[in-house]
């Protein structure tokens, strides 16, 4: 996603190494995704659903 749009930065965080970040973002299971400090997605989602959840302001032309 980051590669496709210069406005997006994606960071993979090793949760056990950065316990302070894990606590701050309430990581109780992995994978857990945090978008712009506010949106939380727990677990792996199919691509379309992930974009729906991560970027709710971006229209989905063909919602499933």
């Amino acid at each position: 996603m980051a590669f496709s749009n210069a406005n997006i930065t994606a960071t993979s965080v090793e949760a056990t190494e950065f316990m302070d970040l894990s606590r701050r973002y309430r990581v109780t299971g992995v994978p857990k995704t945090i978008v712009n400090e506010t949106i939380e997605i727990l677990g792996a989602l199919p691509e379309e659903q992930f974009v729906d959840a991560a970027l709710p302001t971006v229209d989905n032309p063909s919602p499933s």
């Binding site: 406005n7 997006i8 993979s12 965080v13 090793e14 190494e17 691509e47 971006v58």
Partner: protein, 143 residues
């Protein structure tokens, strides 16, 4: 002794043969008083870089290279920034990329080195509409 077995290395080398653009892996570590995983991160990156001449590892000092830290927004170490032909791909890794972070790192190197997005064309079209800075963090664990 390497982290990868000879057979894993052979398979990885085959995958990385697709890399045809220069990929630089910037590794931010702190030598004195830094994280214990810094040397592990370096070993992982060195092993990946040894498998294709187009991939290199550029070591950055977390304490001294403050301009680069600011440029890439690095606040923790070890941290890895993936560049394609010297340009930031905005793909980052925090912590030693072992366990479940290893495959995403290899995929990031392949993406940077080939430019081949694995995303559905419809997703790429939707992502093009993102017009504000968007920060995505994905937490994973080594096992």
């Amino acid at each position: 002794m390497g982290l990868l077995s000879a057979s894993d290395e052979a398979v990885l080398k085959q995958h990385l043969a697709a890399v045809d653009s220069r990929v630089s892996l910037l590794l931010f570590t702190q030598t004195i008083g830094g994280s214990e995983s810094g040397p592990v991160a370096k070993q992982v990156l060195d092993e990946i870089a040894s498998l294709n001449d187009k991939i290199d590892v550029v070591e950055k000092n977390f304490v001294l290279d403050t301009d680069d830290r600011a440029k890439y927004g690095i606040e923790r170490e070890p941290a890895i920034v993936v560049l394609r032909n010297g340009e930031d791909t905005r793909m980052r890794f925090l912590g030693a990329p072992t366990g479940y972070e290893f495959v995403p790192l290899v995929e990031a190197v392949l993406l940077a080195g080939t430019g081949n997005l694995e995303l559905d064309p419809a997703t790429v079209q939707r992502l093009a509409a993102v017009d504000k800075p968007t920060d995505i963090k994905v937490f994973s664990t080594p096992t």
